[in-house]
Symmetry: D2
């Protein structure tokens, strides 16, 4: 029996991570074929990855057919899972996303700040096209979307494309679960954090270990700064005792952009002057990673990849596919339709929530009303996401401006226009919808 996985954006430097995962999971998730799909400009990269992958497969002595192609429609024939991890405009575009806002004294924030909004504008139309093809060519396939802003992308596809088997994933909840396990010195599989909110704006409000409530212990350790949750690509958090005690919530690393805006902006500006933006650091990192990947002697995922910031991405993706394939009914945190899980968010919004993972998709576990401290901020972020999605599809300047205006990192109605105009100009090649 065949089991085929297609990786859209297969030339990504992250791909060896997911290939490793698929190789290791063979006993329970017996992939028989993997196709890496990329675009013209990425030919060299995807070829490098494909060769490395084939060396990894050989080394592991498993039976997987791994190929690459630029012909997406051909690749999708017979697919069971389609993973999407693209970067429209590449890291050069990300550099603009960060640099232009900073120039005007704003945090760029590549996932839900000005930068993330622009990334959505570039990405959503492309993935809408992919979703329509999936729906036509392999309608039973599950799309597993990694592409940021993962929450907004997932909502766009679920609500505006014909394909309804779409799940968005992020490594943040997985990281938080694992860091908490380490913190409490218990096995990660025993830890369950109750997550509330949206991708990159998700909070934990309860921590259970084997069903016992250990939330207070975790808060105590965070207050004593015994730990932080930050992955490699985000500067370490440092939350005050008062913040933890008052909100009674576990923030995620991205929350620093919203609750420590001044500090982050200062550090970003300094870093920018000294080393360029994160995008520019990543560009160098990527270059050296691909140098590594090309070495014939390399037959496994190199350790250096972990610095890239996507730690655990493979595990998140492979666990999810495995649980769907085997109808495991275990609990994982993914992006899916709200449908009442949080009554105070729109019914058809996408949220990041604990779900029971089944062969027929993720089924969110009811959360109920959100505590007031974070309710309004989450609602506002969701309203912004809606505006971003609307603008991504409509290409209407007014919708784009409204998204900027509502973003909590942009509180100036006039500066919103200046930065938006400059970003639209900078990315014009990737924003056909805004140039009709």
């Amino acid at each position: 029996m065949s089991l085929k996985v297609v990786i859209i954006g297969g030339g990504s430097s992250y791909t060896p991570e997911i290939l490793e995962g698929l190789i290791q999971r063979q006993p329970t998730f017996p992939v028989s074929e993997i196709v890496l799909v990329d675009v013209e400009e990425g030919v060299e990269k995807v070829e490098t990855i494909c060769q490395l992958g084939n060396r990894m497969i050989k080394e592991a002595k498993v039976n997987i057919k791994l190929t690459w192609t630029l012909d997406r429609r051909a690749a999708l024939q017979g697919a069971d899972f389609v993973s999407t991890q693209i970067r429209v405009g590449g890291l050069a575009a990300r550099a603009q996303d960060e640099r232009i806002p900073l120039k005007h004294g704003l945090i760029g924030q590549e996932t839900n700040g000005a930068g993330g909004i622009m990334k959505a504008f570039r990405t959503i139309p492309v993935l809408m096209e992919v979703a329509e093809e999936v729906h036509e060519i392999c309608p039973d396939a599950w799309m597993i979307n990694f592409t940021n802003p993962a929450g907004m992308v997932t909502e766009a596809l679920l609500n505006h494309s014909a394909h309804k088997k779409v799940i968005g994933v992020c490594n943040i909840p997985f990281n938080m679960r694992h860091s908490t396990a380490e913190l409490l010195q218990v096995p990660p599989e025993d830890v369950l954090i109750r997550f509330i909110g949206l991708n990159h704006f998700v909070f934990g409000d309860r921590v259970y270990v084997g069903g016992e409530d250990r939330t207070e212990d975790v808060f105590q350790k965070l207050i004593q700064k015994e730990f932080d949750y930050s992955p490699a690509n985000i500067m370490p958090l440092d939350w005050s005792e008062t913040f933890i005690k008052s909100t009674k919530l576990l923030p995620n690393p991205y929350h620093q952009y919203y609750f420590q805006s001044e500090t982050v902006l200062e550090k970003d500006l300094k870093a920018y002057e000294e080393n360029g933006t994160r995008a520019e650091i990543v560009q160098e990192l990527e270059a050296s990673l691909f140098e590594l990947y090309k070495q014939e002697s390399l037959r496994e995922k190199p350790e250096e990849l972990e610095k890239r910031g996507g730690a655990f991405y493979s595990q998140v993706a492979c666990s999810l596919m495995d649980s769907i394939y085997n109808n495991k009914e275990d609990i994982q945190t993914v992006n899916t339709w709200n449908h009442g899980t949080i009554p105070e968010l729109p019914y058809d919004a996408v949220i990041e929530a604990n779900c029971v993972i089944t062969k027929n998709g993720p089924k969110p576990i009811t959360i109920g009303e959100i505590p007031a401290p974070m309710r309004g901020m989450i609602q506002n972020m969701k309203a912004m996401e809606e505006l971003v999605i609307k603008a991504s599809i409509s290409g209407e300047y007014e919708d784009a401006y409204n998204a900027f205006l509502v973003n909590p990192l942009i509180q100036d109605e006039k500066k919103a226009k200046i930065v938006l105009d400059e970003l639209i100009e900078a990315h014009k090649d990737y924003l056909p919808q805004f140039n009709r």
Copy 2:
């Protein structure tokens, strides 16, 4: 380590069933102590049950201390689980619940018809008292309520008592799961029915086997009358092809009261003339069961108990306690707070839903909007339940009358009064709240 289960209403004829379950589950759910609690009038029965239970324990060679008492407060000391299965007024009261409405041409319906409303009036105040004691004496204990009307009782306790660790159970969803497994010739643990609604008014809208959607197969078999879901205490269903095809829902056995009202009424009237009501049949059944129980040679649950209609009750209860105790995170169908699971029902209503069972209680899996065919009927039934609960506590005649009026089996505003008055009079010893 001790693990103590208290059974309120331990003198019930059903108790050997649950004792058997607790004995069999020792490896994973190591109960060390069971106390049967009952009231003065039930001394003889509870003693009989206790003796039978101790013979069963001895036979099974397990180490459980089983005793009985009339002192509820004493029994509750140190309890981990409190199961409630009482019958205020006994079967004699049930007979009235059925006979009086029938006399006036109405179905009595002991769970959500006029009979069930009266049962709630008699039961809720008593169980409120129990819940308050549990909250005071063993606040960490989970109350597992079997007492009908189980959904209304659970809502009353969760919303109006101090104790919030209350779960309501019924064997109907379990029966439906097992019957469906038999129908499809698959193991019951592979079957998941998506349940929507309220206790004894729950529908299934999807049937999954190992995550595969098999709903249509089940509908086909029901249409071909290859099967019925009815337990022993309910006359066999016979749903038309049109009903199944149009509603696209699996009804539960109690639905015949609402969708085949005329037929049921006719049969009930006929049965009543010939054999008396179901209560009267059950009274005889019980008498002979207790004769059996008293036989010293009996060292296990007798097969005759299955005719009583409570098949699987033990499994339902023991599975639930086991999963809570072991934080199993498996899916079971219980009565718990809605909290957004079905957005169209009140947030704090109790619904019967698929839940992930954890040490910190059942967590319902989001259902979302109910399809229109059943939405209104479920909403109406919930409104009725609210009125019943209100009246049970307030003892206001107006609240009781409103509950009768809203009940779909009572469509006559004048007859509602006649029947209600007669029932209040008949049960006056058990309805102190209506006689203040």
Copy 3:
């Protein structure tokens, strides 16, 4: 300046009523042109009405151009208001709506029972067509729909046609206001009843006179049977003291079908045997009315019309058009979108509510949560309405069957099919959507 009113179904026996209203309101609502539109089979009637109308205009010495036509599109040119009062299939069809259910022991109920459902099936497709034409030809015109079931028709047009300027009206709230005024001996314009619910399923829960709460007085008088609210076409109500005291609601005349079902069914059956259905009585009434209308000497609306049951229809319609035209911002009870007025009903449902009437349409006054006694029944009725609308448009048998099943007057899943099949057959000429 021209002000043009088009009356679709202008050959109705009710038309002289509305013509009288338009003549009397000239000072504030200066209609300059009225066109009566009807279908081929109604030529004789509409011509008779048009002649009578012209005699009335002449007598009143006002300047209104009144004509009739079968060309609906031509009539709609330049229309400001389009009133719709059609009867697809005529009174003969209504007779079937009543007779067939009765034959099977069910109340026909021409507005929200089986009869009303069939009427919706016949009517909605025709009025959808009208709405699309209005939207194309006179997009600024307000459609004022009188056609029953007025609530369902209005919801169908608002949610499924392109035209969004549609208001549904009924004389019941107006009647109740006026009867209450008479009861309390105060001017009707001082009385405000807070209405909650749906067309023909609307309750009053508060009665204000000049802003003073007089609800209790009204309840007292109803209890003392000093009054009833029934118009000519509905048999007099007789609500028990207990009903009034417990529900604390003013029922409307149609509520007897739901709360006194047995009594009504008995009377209907008896009446049917003796005099035929209401439809048949009305047929005779109509014939004699048209005899009257033809008399050249008749120059005003004849008193006999009042027996027909549509008392006050003219006032309802003319008040509404007048308030829209003059942006009066007064309060009238009409059928319009819920939009949060009653949070427990679907957002886009049509409800019957007190609205501020403005040039840009009716703006409902917030009601808030409905008291439990009637919440569920109203929710159920709304679910049924949704199913009726769905079936009217889709022509799917399953949708139609579901509507029957959910209807509180039809509690038998098998009989539902029998009656539905017979009705669909009887009306097949008017139900093209069910015969595709």
Copy 4:
């Protein structure tokens, strides 16, 4: 017949305005008695106002008994309306509200920024006391609350005091209506703006003149800077064309704090260095106003009062009392319970909305879903208001901190603590709840 108005905080410099209003409205709102109530420290002021008021009454030749007292309970006897306009801590406290945040680089914002939060903390407990007294002494009286933050105060009283006849008022909607009338050169009574939101965070989304939609005209004029809506106490607005065209909303003057934060902060800091805060300017203004008030020759409200910023306050208050008294059923914009008016805000929240004003209170006109551009920001502001109210009553530091954290003008979790601590210390005499 007597009609008694009690003014709590009668020594306010605004009082002559409302006295003038009450004098002028005698024909329709025949006040017979007014009592000014104030506290010990305000004796001199309230006496001055009372004397001026009596000169005004004499000049106007009306028959009103005007007195002052420090005995609030005595004053409340027989009251029909109780207006509340207090300033706990006086203008000195307001100066701190503005100065301390500014010192740390934050806008103080006396109504919904840090300053407004502190004002709520000082004010709500005092007005809760007043509400309880009103409920005890004159339970039928309407409380008309002017005290800022008026929306939060109203929600606190409605949801946490026993008195439910409370209405909050603000002159902003009235100003916007009048300014718009001037802009369009039409009578103000013909203008209706559809208001959406919260006190001082309310938007207009439609402007009607005599029911005709004139929204686009108003937008055009705002874009051409032909107008601004700012009252005397707020620096003039200057909204970009893009803002108006994209949001399609009329902002209110206070919105500059949220959408032009940088500009406002800059101006505030500059003004602070040059002239001190607005509080300090107002202190001078007040001193000179009271000099004026003392002049025996002054027999009317002096023109200088208009500079104070409260223009139209009298009209707002008197219109409201008049419409209640006379059950006018006209439309006014006040603060009252949401109850579904805006489904996306909590059911029991207080909103600022267009209401039909009746003898039994304001009845909001349904608004429906808020357009996404402002939905999230309004929801966030409401969540903040809830936290402020909670903290005002609980005196819990955590609640207060959460309110600061959620406030969009305070985006730094550490600075939030510093500023909050300093403000609590500065106001400790007026914050007994935080010092228990």
